[in-house]
Amino acid sequence: MVFAHGVGGAQDLPIPAELAIAGASAALAISFIVLAIAWRTPRYDAATSGRRAPDWLGRLVDSPYFEWTLRLLGLAFFAYVAVAAVFGPDLLVNPTFGVVYVLLWVGLVPASLLFGPFYKAVNPVRTLHLLFSLLTGGDPKRGLNDLPRWVGYWPAAAGLFAFVWLELVYPDATYLSPIRLWFAIYVAVLLVGSALFGSVWFERADPFEVYSSLVGHLSIFGRREDGLLVLRSPLANLDAVQAGPGLVAVVSVLFGSTAFDSFKDMNAWLQFSQTTSLPMTWVNTVVMLGFCLVVGLSLTAATVAAAPREGVRRSDLPALFAHSVVPIIVGYMVAHYLTYFVESGQQTLIQLSDPLGTGANLLGTGDGEVNYWLSAHPTFLAVTKVLAVVAGHVVGVVAAHDRAMKVLPKRHQLTGQLPLLVVMVFYTITGLYLLFGA
């Protein structure tokens, strides 16, 4: 039978129990070792850390040619996929699905880990905003009003939730019209918002840009406040995440939704969802929201438990520590999506050659075949996943420790970070349990 269009296909095997337990023990042990022996004065300071990037690199990255090459490539790719989404067949041969759910949503993690705020550089809507500003002669940075401070990252958190809801809950996520509608609203919200508030809107409201820029803080490329390009360790880079209202919500949605995705792949949940008479879309919406709330509330509770140092408001503490959850998220994303990204990603690259389902081979990738090496080596895969989760946990704990040195008073520095440490261990062990139980 002719049948060569699957995206997705088989899921990963659960990780073996011994590996899950080894990972959990390692995470637990390392957490307390960090607490016991790590430095007692803050070590990472985003304003001063890092080495100046080589001149040629700084010149290249800051040159308008480089910037506009990336911008126009991003815009061209967006247009290419938009044509497929509008004129292509409403079948899974259409590359739109793979581009949205694999290349964009999952691919922005490795791209940002390697290159920093990758999506910001290619963001097609940002480019449209820049082009409009050029046409009208306005300053792209300025809108009609200033964005109120309390808005913070809340729009991005809402956008992220809307996206994961489309991806993980909405039953018709793999039909074109919901995707077209979602992205039409996305573009509209960003264009109107950026006209109102200037380009800062993208840094606060674009779910992909906010996500990518957060993960980009785990790359080695950073900028000081004056814009100087520096190379620094991911830990030092992570310190530069700007805390603000809604940042806790952003990390909660990212982590909670991914955990929910693992959870709903568990066999027990499958059996429940197939035998219940409850409306599963609503059940899934509530459960996913619940996962996000658990992350957000536990992070908030664990961080406001400590009294801050003078000059730091207690209510700001959750946002000040939210950056330390980012490495945990990234480690878990690697574990959760590695096979999916590698294998469905290849499938998507193949499909991209034939955006309209006409048998075309525009990019020359159409004759490719998917390499399933990763699926065929489940032990390697399982070890990689556990290592990713543990590595993310370690980086997160160290980042939290350094921040505690900065914002907690001397006498509370160790006890004050205990609750958060416990919560992080809980995140990691839950993550490992979900990888084991799926």
Binding site: G8, L13, V93, D265, G357, Y372
Partner: protein, 149 residues
Amino acid sequence: MRRALAVAAVAAAALALTGCGSEEPTVTTEETPATSTPSEPTASESASESPSESPSEDSTDDSGPAIEIEIEGDAIEPRGKRIEVKAGEPVALEVESDRAAELHVHSSPEQVLDVKKGESTMRLIIERPGIVDVEEHDTGIVVFQLEVR
């Protein structure tokens, strides 16, 4: 996400069958007997009233696990049951159905099994380790999951 994407993948691919007949088949399902013997009736799909497996094809069928599936309209048994099998090992599906149905096997790449009304036995081989959902197309019910090791 993977499941949702895969579900639609199969649905879409099934719809697309007529539209892309020129593509190379990549199915790894081995229905017994092989379709290369067109003169004989396809035992796997028309072995009505004969609960035993296809006689001619091979004797290894008995070694692998067998799964009984009952389809009565929209009622399907089992639902979401998980079964452990070995990669490359044939799994016998013993189906009793009161209607024609399509089983979508969400392996990588995907496979489709056509179920005819009556009793039939089909053979399924999954090449690589992973969790593979087998879904009845009309109802969207995941009949069982193979935990392939």
